[in-house]
């Protein structure tokens, strides 16, 4: 899949193998996953579908018999052995209460430093990058929820983990913090080349971060695949959501300052999106909601919509008596896009697989 992660030759092709049979009370789940041990894999699904339970099992925080966890050549659990959490080279960020309250921020970072090979210079670089300088002498309870998670991230990265696990770390922070934090997180895990498993039920976080998506459904085994393929797979419930979405990787090519428009390129397609300046060459993701895409049989010259792309219908699925979701192949590029139309329009346009038409994209969000 298209990913801007720089592959490390040492971990290229390494896999994270997870086989677990989780049972707790009436809850039971069988997971059999084979994920790339690089980039960001998002665990997504409704609450109670076992995302956190599986993450805890991977970290060894909960022990389930006859499970298996392998990271590349490392074996943390199989039928014969179980490595306790403190001997696994991982780091884990919980939803909340990550920091030790008997230590200040500096002490919390020192706790990690004492138990890893990281140097003081590396600590200082992380402090600088995450903007923690002014917080070092603060007590964890004096920090905002977001600041606490930043400190937790710095502390986790100081462990130089082979695998980073995060369990809904942003469920208690506000939107502006999220907007600042997510690009930082993405950049830091790329920089350290550490695979990240990220549990979330927020679609915007997943759209922004995930390379691989692991979909959890109650009572079923989780499914995994590249994030663009999973989001647009009409056989999965993701494409049937009211906020169904598609993701397209693109590169900034120019900024039309007079209109405040970014010009972006995805394959041979050009998008123009209003937004703040980004340097040409910046890799971004375009997030397009299915409900913001309408279809026309001919290119409309007299419209306010900026982005109109030639497309071919691949597949149709009925969401309800009145609505359909249409999977499109955009501009013959292998780029997938979802469109939501009424059944009446579908009949009117005689939508069917193979039909060539135009996708009119009303709104595009640029995710860094």
């Amino acid at each position: 899949m298209a990913s801007d992660t720089m592959p490390n030759p040492n971990t290229e092709g390494a896999r994270l193998r997870i086989r677990q049979h989780l049972t707790r009370g009436s809850f039971t789940m069988r997971a059999d996953l084979n994920l790339p041990a690089q980039g960001i894999s998002a665990f997504m699904g409704e609450s109670g579908s076992g995302k956190t339970s599986l993450l805890r099992a991977i970290a060894g925080l909960d022990r389930h018999d006859s499970g298996e966890v392998r990271l590349g050549e490392l074996c943390w659990q199989d039928g014969t052995q179980f490595t306790p959490t403190h001997r696994r080279e991982l780091a884990y960020i919980f939803q909340e209460d990550n920091l030790f309250t008997h230590l200040n921020v500096r002490g919390n970072l020192a706790f990690a430093l004492k138990r890893s090979s990281a140097t003081l210079a590396e600590r200082d670089a992380l402090i600088e990058q995450l903007g923690l300088q002014s917080l070092l002498d603060a007590h964890p309870l004096q920090l905002s929820g977001g600041e606490r998670q930043k400190v937790a991230l710095a502390r986790a990265l100081l462990m130089k983990p082979r695998l980073l696990l995060m369990d809904e770390p942003l469920s208690a922070v506000d939107a502006p913090f999220k907007a600042e934090f997510l690009p930082q997180l993405r950049q830091l895990v790329q920089q350290q080349d550490v695979p990240l498993l990220y549990v979330s039920h927020a679609a915007d976080e997943v759209a922004q971060l995930a390379d691989t998506l692991v979909l959890f459904r109650k009572g079923e085994a989780p499914l995994s695949g590249s994030v663009d393929a999973m989001l647009t797979d009409l056989s999965l419930p993701l494409a049937g959501r009211s906020d169904a979405e598609s993701i397209i990787e693109a590169m900034v090519t120019a900024y039309e300052g007079s209109y405040g428009l970014l010009r972006l390129q995805a394959g041979s397609l050009v998008f123009r999106v209003s937004g703040p300046f980004l340097a040409p060459g910046t890799l971004v993701r375009l997030r397009i909601m299915a409900q913001d895409v309408s279809l026309a049989l001919s290119a409309q010259p007299d419209t306010s919509i900026l982005n109109i792309c030639p497309a071919t219908v691949l597949e149709l699925a009925a969401d309800s008596a009145s609505q359909l979701t249409v999977l499109l192949n955009l501009g013959g590029q292998g780029l997938h896009l979802l469109a939501r139309v009424t059944r009446k329009s579908a009949e009117h346009l005689q939508l069917r697989p193979g039909l060539a038409l135009y996708a009119q994209i009303k709104s595009v969000a640029v995710l860094r």
Partner: protein
């Protein structure tokens, strides 16, 4: 003025309270930890047993201890067979009785502290590669400071005021088992009210000083947390 035997009794009392508190911290900490963490269904039985000295008359506890530890008791006979000096009417007998008598005063505050810390800090420590021993020394103990202060304070103060158990298994031997409370009782019985006043005042002062310094210290520790 304080007589020599008064001083002896005071020192003996402090020694008894000190030894008892130390032993209680050693056995009470793992016990409290287990009680705080175990999911065993029958745990409440052990909790009731630990709390028993709170409601049991000390003389009843002392009576059973006397029977068990005495020369004809099963513990006493085992003790003699192993060639140790007898437990009754000795300092170590007093310590044994006090340990049981003050057990809930040390175990309960520790259990509360451990429960309030919860599992999270330990899980966090494990993900930061801290092993079990490391977690105990660098997470549990520092986070439980105020709980340990409370437990020691209550254990010490409660042992200092002990009377019934001591009288039953220790008797009233000056310099060996005659603690302050028993000496005061003796003085009142023989109508030495002036001496009793002096000793009671001393005990009051010592207890109050301990409590005041401990509460002051605890206030500061709370601020740190």
């Amino acid at each position: 003025m304080l007589q020599r035997d008064d001083i002896t009794a005071l020192i003996l009392t402090l020694q008894l309270a000190g030894c008892t508190t130390l032993i209680l911290l050693l056995i009470g900490t793992p016990l409290a930890w287990w009680l705080a963490r175990s999911r065993w269904r029958g745990k409440f039985l052990l909790e009731a047993l630990v709390a028993l000295p709170l409601v049991l008359p000390p003389t009843v506890l002392g009576f059973y201890l006397l029977l068990a530890l005495g020369p004809r008791g099963w513990l006493g006979q085992l003790n003699t067979a192993l060639g140790f000096s007898p437990w009754v009417f000795s300092f170590k007998g007093l310590v044994a009785g006090s340990v049981i008598y003050s057990l809930p005063f040390v175990v309960q505050p520790l259990q509360d502290t451990f429960q309030s810390i919860g599992r999270r800090p330990l899980e966090v420590a494990a993900t930061l590669r801290a092993g079990p021993w490391d977690r105990l020394v660098h997470v549990i103990l520092p986070m439980s400071r105020s709980g340990f202060v409370t437990a020691s304070m209550l254990g010490f103060a409660h042992t200092m005021g002990e009377f019934g158990v001591v009288l039953m298994i220790g008797g009233n031997i000056p310099g060996l088992t005659q603690v302050l409370s028993i000496r005061i009782y003796g003085q009142v019985e023989t109508l030495q009210y002036a001496q009793a006043h002096l000793l009671s005042g001393a005990l009051l002062l010592v207890s109050l000083t301990i409590l005041i310094s401990v509460y002051a210290l605890r206030g500061r520790l709370r601020l740190v947390r």
